[in-house]
């Protein structure tokens, strides 16, 4: 995001106020229009991806640091949801907050070590973190269920006055999926707000200074370690809360899901969406998150795909999805490194120009 004055206001222009309002309105209305489980599931996953991606963006987007350790923090959150939410029956706000706190604390412990390193080295160290994380998840049986994993289907999703598993307003009952949809997107919205505020704040501008010019930032008196660790803590905390929701949505948590490919997925989301832009993280999540399900749903329209080998076709749907993912990552980095958000900004600029030149 730009660092000029307009960026200091959350919603600088009328255009942005109107478009944000529209986005929120559409978001609220979606469950009234969409009732099919397929699309709701897709949107819930996208919402969780958005939560985690907004979190990762705080670190990568604002400090230029890339971490492949995101999966580890997501895992910490998921097991918190399983242990406190499902096994111990804590209420929703408590286990969700606990996940955030645990993620933040671990981030605060790991951060100072990890952030002494940059670039290639940080990537490799966070990769190590993921391997160590899986080892802990596999062996801390009492909490994680060990290699067998543990169920989260009993996790409390009630807020006292309303239960996201089944809530209703006069004239409409919502399904569990629709409830989850609201829950994750409200959280994603909060994360976006928090992260947009970080951008505007003094620390936020400092973080971007860190990203752009390490040494210069230090010279003008920006305390690098403090802000960088701060970014790491917020990022880990958001990741853990996203992980908690992911654990609940999956209904089951197992140790090997928190691997580097999950981390890559999140990095890919912010790259495809547009690194450094809060809206990019959300756009990326909405685009990449549901892609595999959509490809699968419309696979019969793509003759080169097969579901069962021997039906004809060249590659299986699942393999194609992985290939598509790898290819998109490469294509975006090569041809549109600023991601979907940049495409959107360009479209917006064109729209404005068109309007101002009657």
């Amino acid at each position: 995001m730009a660092t000029d004055d307009t960026a200091l206001r959350l919603l600088p222009t009328r255009f942005s106020r109107v478009s944000i309002g529209l986005v929120v309105a559409v978001g609220v209305l979606v469950p009234f229009v969409v009732s099919g489980d397929f699309w709701m599931t897709v949107l819930v996953s996208a919402g969780i991806f958005a939560m985690g991606a907004v979190g990762l963006n705080v670190l990568t987007g604002f400090t230029g640091q890339v971490s492949l350790g995101h999966a580890f923090f997501l895992g910490c959150g998921a097991y918190t949801a399983a242990y406190l939410g499902a096994a111990r029956g804590w209420p929703l706000p408590l286990w969700l907050l606990a996940a955030g706190v645990i993620g933040g604390v671990i981030g605060g412990i790991v951060g100072p070590f990890a952030l002494r390193l940059k670039g290639n080295y940080l990537v490799v160290v966070t990769l190590g973190l993921v391997f160590i994380g899986i080892h802990i998840f596999e062996n801390w049986d009492r909490v994680t269920g060990g290699t067998n994993g543990t169920s989260t289907s009993q996790a409390e999703l009630s807020l006292g006055f309303t239960d996201f598993r089944s809530f209703s307003i006069p004239g409409k009952d919502f399904s569990e999926l629709q409830g989850l949809y609201y829950l994750v997107w409200i959280l994603a919205g909060l994360f976006v707000l928090v992260s947009a505020n970080i951008v505007r704040s003094r620390p936020g501008r400092a973080l971007q200074a860190v990203r752009d010019r390490d040494v210069a930032a230090e010279v003008v008196g920006i305390s690098l370690p403090r802000y960088k660790i701060g970014a790491f803590v917020i990022s880990s905390s958001m990741a853990a809360m996203a992980g908690a929701m992911l654990g609940v949505q999956q209904q089951f948590v197992g140790p090997t899901s928190w691997n580097i490919f999950l981390s890559i997925q999140y990095v890919a989301i912010i790259i495809v969406g547009g690194v450094g832009m809060v809206s990019g993280a959300v756009l990326g999540a909405l685009f990449l998150g549901p892609l595999p399900e959509i490809v699968e749903k419309y696979s019969d329209k793509l003759p080169f795909l097969y579901e069962v080998k021997g039906e004809g076709g060249i590659v299986s749907i699942a393999a194609f999805n992985e290939m598509l993912f790898g290819a998109l990552l490469i294509v975006f980095l090569l041809f549109e490194p600023r991601g979907l958000a940049a495409l959107w900004l360009r479209a917006k600029a064109r729209f404005r120009t068109a309007r101002s030149t009657p």
Binding site: D37, F38, T41, E138, G146, T147, N148, G149, S151, S153, Q250, Q251, F252, V253, G254, T256, S257, E293, E307, V308, K309, G310, S316, I317, A318, A319, E322
Partner: protein
């Protein structure tokens, strides 16, 4: 993650098979090999003799369903039983059944390191359904069967989500891969009351009403493995040890081994474990060697078992290895690895792979040739095929009872008697979960480098431990 290298049929079961058919007093031709004949009654299906206690109390004569029978009758056989109150007509349209086509679900690895296993299991299942659809006209001669597949990526949570996504589109789940995945799905299958064929032979599925297991459980395999060692290899007094995968699959085999150790009165001198994916086993080998192990019982998967044995051999340590069904893959025993298999025994079910004397095996080979789209018959293909025999029996029963709903299928299994796996696996007596009787015999195979077909195992012995019957499966 378990790869189920499934084995083949047991020749010595023919006597029992024939006896069962005589007791039925019908379709003696059912065990005929002439599978190309569309009038052959469906396989896998024969069922309990009426004298069988299970069948007598629950199902009665209705149990003698001869599915897809020769007359291509449009009605399921008349049901005389009083325990099924509703008049039996065409099943209603329900999830996974649109009045014409029955859809069954598969949740298995389509990507990742076990994708080739998942693929083979599916081709095996598809081969069998092609046969049912083409030659029998479908279930009850009219309902075609289709498979809906979801990728589990060897991850329990992915599998649970895949399950949630397709559960509304299928009548039951017929192909799952792996103990952890099955374990994760179990809770949800019970909650939704949906029937599934488990993706492993762990004993914990035996008493679960939402599972339709087949073949002898790992616990029984290992008890029979101990029997074989004690009796046939004259192992009494020798030092025995274990090598197990560090997960629920390993645990189920170890449970059987501990039971056997108590019954036969010995103790294991060393217990070693490994993590799936390990490649170096020097430490386990030295521990086993230092303990002076003369026999090592393995609850493992092929890569690791091969790694253990090649590692042991390279250190000059060559005890007898006795492994569970998933511990062996012919492919890995080829070439230079072969030397390490000299003292390897596999506890399995059925007879030798490719043995045309076994009726089910002959059918299998013929059908793969006909419907397999060029796939080479493999042990995994056979596993997918064999599991589908059980699914076929359950679906026929459900149609006969006029209810293809999720509940209807769970109920159908409760009324299913003994199912004959044509010698591809031991006959399994279903019925209410607490009365189920899994096969308790095991076939012991020995590695045979002289064999040239795809399976390098030769049938050595069929054993049944006197204690196998005593093993109590937890409810």
């Amino acid at each position: 993650m378990n790869q189920h290298v499934h084995h083949p049929a047991r020749t010595r079961r023919l006597v029992r098979l024939v006896a069962g058919l005589l007791a039925l007093g019908l379709v003696a031709a059912a065990c005929g090999d002439d599978d190309d004949d569309a009038t052959t009654p469906a396989t896998g299906e024969t069922t309990a003799p009426s004298g069988d206690t299970t069948a007598a109390t629950t199902a009665g004569p209705g149990d003698t369903t001869t599915s897809g029978d020769s007359t291509e009758s449009t009605e399921p056989p008349p049901d005389a039983t009083t325990t099924v109150p509703a008049p039996v007509g065409d099943p209603e349209e329900v999830d996974g059944f649109d009045g014409e086509t029955i859809t069954v679900g598969a949740v298995l690895d389509q990507t990742g390191p076990l994708a080739f296993v998942g693929t083979d299991l599916l081709v095996g299942a598809q081969t069998y359904w092609d046969f049912v659809n083409e030659e029998l006209g479908g279930i009850a001669g009219k309902y075609k069967v289709e498979i809906k597949v979801a990728d589990s990526k060897n991850e329990a949570p992915v599998a649970v989500q895949a399950y949630q996504q397709i559960k509304g589109d299928v009548v039951m789940f017929t192909n799952i891969l792996g103990t952890p995945v099955t374990k994760a799905m179990a809770e949800f299958l019970v909650e939704d009351n949906i029937l599934a064929i488990p993706g492993s032979l762990a004993g914990e599925w035996v008493r679960n009403p939402n599972f339709l297991p087949y073949s002898a459980p790992y616990e029984i395999e290992m008890i029979n493995g101990v029997e074989f060692w004690q009796t046939n290899l004259e192992g009494a007094g020798q030092t025995a040890c274990t090598f197990a995968q560090n997960d629920s699959y390993g645990e189920s085999g170890l449970t059987g081994l501990e039971f056997a150790a108590e019954k036969y009165g010995f103790e294991f001198a060393a217990d070693t474990t490994y993590n799936s994916g390990d490649t170096d086993f020097t430490a386990q080998v030295t521990e086993l060697a230092d303990a002076g192990c003369e026999v090592v019982f393995s609850v493992s998967t092929p890569r690791e078992q091969t790694g253990l044995m090649t590692g042991a051999r390279s250190l000059g340590f060559e005890p007898v290895f006795i492994g569970t069904l998933p511990s062996f893959l012919s492919l890995l025993a080829g070439g230079d690895n072969g030397a390490a298999f000299a003292n390897f025994y596999l506890v399995g079910d059925g007879g030798e792979f490719g043995d045309p004397e076994i009726p089910g095996m002959k059918n299998f080979l013929d059908r793969v040739e006909k419907y397999g789209d060029g796939a080479a018959p493999s042990t995994f293909l056979l596993t997918g095929y064999t599991a589908t025999l059980a699914a076929h029996a359950a679906l026929e029963k459900a149609v006969a009872l006029g209810d293809l709903s999720h509940e209807g299928l769970v109920n159908a299994v409760q009324q299913l008697g003994e199912v004959d796996f044509e010698g591809l696996a031991g006959n399994y007596t279903y019925g209410p979960p607490d009365e189920r009787v899994p096969p308790i015999e095991s076939a012991i195979f020995r590695f045979d480098p002289a064999k040239t077909d795809r399976n390098l195992l030769a049938l050595q012995e069929v054993v049944e431990s006197p204690f196998a019957k005593e093993y109590v499966f937890a409810g």
